[in-house]
Symmetry: C2
């Protein structure tokens, strides 16, 4: 398959087109992903999340720099599920990362879905496969952490970095997003400003309260220097990258990375099976305008959900087999 071959050679244009097709739920995209799948599983995936304005993109820019100085290739996915109107913000992020624009080993793409609800996490999974197949050593996923969907997205990562900044009610934001439970490393931006040490100890406090597995990884809270001094800021981020490597080693040593990948593989297969089996039936019902009629009948109590579902399934598979 020509397109798959080109992506495996690292072709940026073909990869970009395929990511767009994934966003648009183009059926052909699935078969290309199938071709790429055997070549995936080599990249290390880092999730970076935090409220808008916390400084995620500046930090990611320096994480890229840090990995480039180790000659690692980097792929970045900027995911913003909150609104279809934030294209501008994402564009802004990409501009902020433009110092790597001429570097062929750095590939930055934004990701959104115009399609159905709940599909974004799956799209992120597929996009990770694409970047992985392109041969990127490290893949960074950026999300704005404010809801359940973002937590699902960030769950694709092996190491999750939560970026917080003092004075933004971040602790509340973080808890709201359920991020406290999934963060492996907490980075406090503007670590030398007022409120940073208070925020740091608040986060520590919450982490200690919720920690119930004494043998597991203890999430690390790190303060980083002000962005006013680019060199010291870069040094701070280098320390974050060292901590990421430490976390990766921990996962490998404890056999947790393999376990995590196995769990993700089960989910990926179950999702695929569901979509192969269930979606055609559901599509058929919606296309024929049956769903509204069914719900009307149910609301009038003319039938009940189970009997109705069995009837619909029987009918569908009968017609399907007759063809």
């Amino acid at each position: 398959m020509e397109k798959a071959r080109r992506i495996l050679q690292g072709d940026i244009r073909t990869a970009s087109h395929l990511i767009r097709d994934i966003e648009d739920n183009v059926p052909e995209a699935k078969s290309i992903i199938s071709h790429l799948f055997p070549h995936t599983g080599k990249a290390y995936v880092i999730g970076v999340t935090g409220s808008p304005g916390a400084g995620k993109s500046t930090i990611i820019d320096c994480i890229i720099e840090s990995y480039r100085s180790m000659s690692k290739s980097v792929g970045v996915l900027l995911v913003d599920p909150t609104s279809p109107f934030t294209g501008g913000a994402i564009l802004g992020d990409r501009i902020r990362m433009q110092r790597h624009i001429g570097d062929k080993e750095v590939f930055v793409r934004s990701l959104a879905t115009r399609g159905a609800l709940g599909g974004l996490s799956k799209a992120v999974g597929d996009a990770i496969h694409i970047l992985d197949a392109m041969g990127k050593d490290v893949i960074i996923i950026e999300t704005v952490g404010t809801g359940q969907q973002e937590v699902e997205i960030i769950n694709h990562a092996h190491t999750v970095v939560v970026v917080l900044v003092p004075g933004m009610g971040d602790e509340i934001q973080a808890i709201k997003a359920g991020i406290m439970e999934i963060g492996d490393i907490f980075v406090i931006n503007k670590g030398d400003t007022r409120g940073a040490s208070k925020l740091s100890s608040e986060i520590q406090g919450i982490l200690e309260l919720s920690s119930c597995h004494p043998e597991s990884w203890h999430p690390h809270v790190m303060r980083i220097e002000s962005m006013d001094e680019p060199e010291r800021f870069q040094e701070s981020v280098n320390r974050v990258v060292t901590k990421i490597t430490e976390h990766m080693s921990y996962l490998i040593e404890q056999n947790l990375l393999k376990e995590r990948i196995r769990r993700k593989t089960v989910n990926e297969f179950v999702d695929a099976l569901k979509s192969v089996i269930f979606e055609p039936v559901m599509d058929h019902i919606i296309r024929k305008g049956e769903l509204d009629k069914i719900v009307d009948r149910l609301m009038k109590k003319e039938t009940d959900p189970y009997s109705c579902a069995e009837e619909v399934a029987r009918e569908y598979f009968q017609n399907h087999n007759d063809k």
Copy 2:
């Protein structure tokens, strides 16, 4: 159907057995629910949630009292998804509500699932149908609000009451559970103790921050008196019940109750269709020990999720049709 008939007559023993069968995922239970379904949709469903120790059961006891004084019959479901080891706590709750134990118009049952993950919300839906078919005017669902699953459960309710108490870090708990977004009425227990007014204004503040629909119901924060004076406590709870009725009227006036019921009906049908179509295939794979083999093949990159899912589905439906 004999059992369905008995439940429609309000038979407590048959209803209790059916709830137990729902918990155990006994197949026969589905067909009884199907028989009951046409007789449902009359009860008003109230969700009560909050941290352990917030005083939910004492308040529910008084809510029951309040409705009984209006000659309404009441069903109560105590749901505790957090742990299989909390049977004691639930029993404790039931003991606290025992002043209604001789009242035939009050039916209190605890609910847990020994079965699969994610099934508890569905079980709650079915149990509500049972209590509804029994002819209960009001159904109260109690959950301990500490996670995503509880939010799903409480979504079965038409009006959601969140119980908070000062000095327990409740605001953090509430936000964590995503309860701030689903609460229609916030009740602050021990409203005359220190910290109650601070908690009240904190909750108000969060509500104002997150309120983006000026035309919609503005969640109400109410402080209730100390339990030390039973009569004044009951009077406080009576005011909560008045507010519940106000919320119900609002939902009906704005046509929101019908919309809510419609949305729930869609979900119920989609869940039923999924279980009718997808579960037999998944059960078959697990029973034959295929899932582990599939995941092993995927992890060795011998196949990919889509191709494998298509293969599995094709094989299943072929064998299924040959029979």
